[in-house]
Symmetry: C2
Subunit: 141 residues, 2 copies
């Protein structure tokens, strides 16, 4: 079976508010959008931001909670980009959870929540190679 994940779908409350964080904050371009969902083509999979009410209906569960027990990470190419990226995301509707600092296992990272309280780690991790296409490989420092 392929070691593959095709979509991450985040439940959101306000499409325009979420779009500002991802499009203006990260600088990403949607692949598709309509009044209830925005899809972004990522590095080998798709990110969707979908109205939480529609997501709940699709999963057939209710009461999905935020903040959930998970984090997403975006790695940058240099240590000096970490805090400015967090600051820019905060200016686009995010909320800083942890200012950048050095974790015990090396590298440099901080956390920012998107407008729907989903946690994003912004990290510089020199042990994990990133290809020109954005494909990320696990590695050890």
């Amino acid at each position: 079976m392929q070691q593959q994940l095709s979509v991450i779908t985040l439940g959101i409350s306000d499409l325009a508010r979420s779009r500002r964080f991802y499009v203006d904050g990260f600088g990403w371009r949607p692949a598709f959008e309509n009044p209830e969902i925005v899809f972004y083509q990522m590095n080998g999979f798709v990110l969707g931001t979908w109205l939480a009410s529609a997501l709940e209906c699709d999963i057939r569960r209710s009461g999905l909670a935020r903040p959930g027990a998970f984090a997403l990470a975006h790695n940058v190419a240099a240590r000096e980009e970490v805090q400015p990226t967090i600051d820019r995301l905060a200016r686009c509707g995010g909320r800083i959870l942890r200012m950048a600092d050095a974790p015990p296992h090396g590298g440099y990272r901080g956390y920012v929540a998107d407008p729907d309280d989903h946690a994003w780690e912004i990290a510089w991790n020199p042990a994990w190679p990133i290809s020109a296409e954005g494909y990320v490989s696990w590695g050890i420092g």
Copy 2:
């Protein structure tokens, strides 16, 4: 800025129970594991399953809730693989949330929760190409 996500980290409570779902259920191989985290090399990024207490400490927030307002998806190559994949995951510690059926936008899908209540959609979506390496592209049917 790269349209890239490097890691999805899921907060878990019991490493062996979670590992059974991902290794025996999905058939995936860890890239690294220690007593608090398992990393899986995915299609262009890394999936981590980390003790939720350690994740909370890293993010600097507490009370991360489950089920969170998000879903992950794994796409399969044929409609006939969807329900058997869900059934196998359920035998490996998962819990079926929605039996497979056809959504209005086409394809075929169901949902299963992992042992920590994180929702996985198992889907057949003929409009979204998957390369031999597992890279998934957004498409329209």
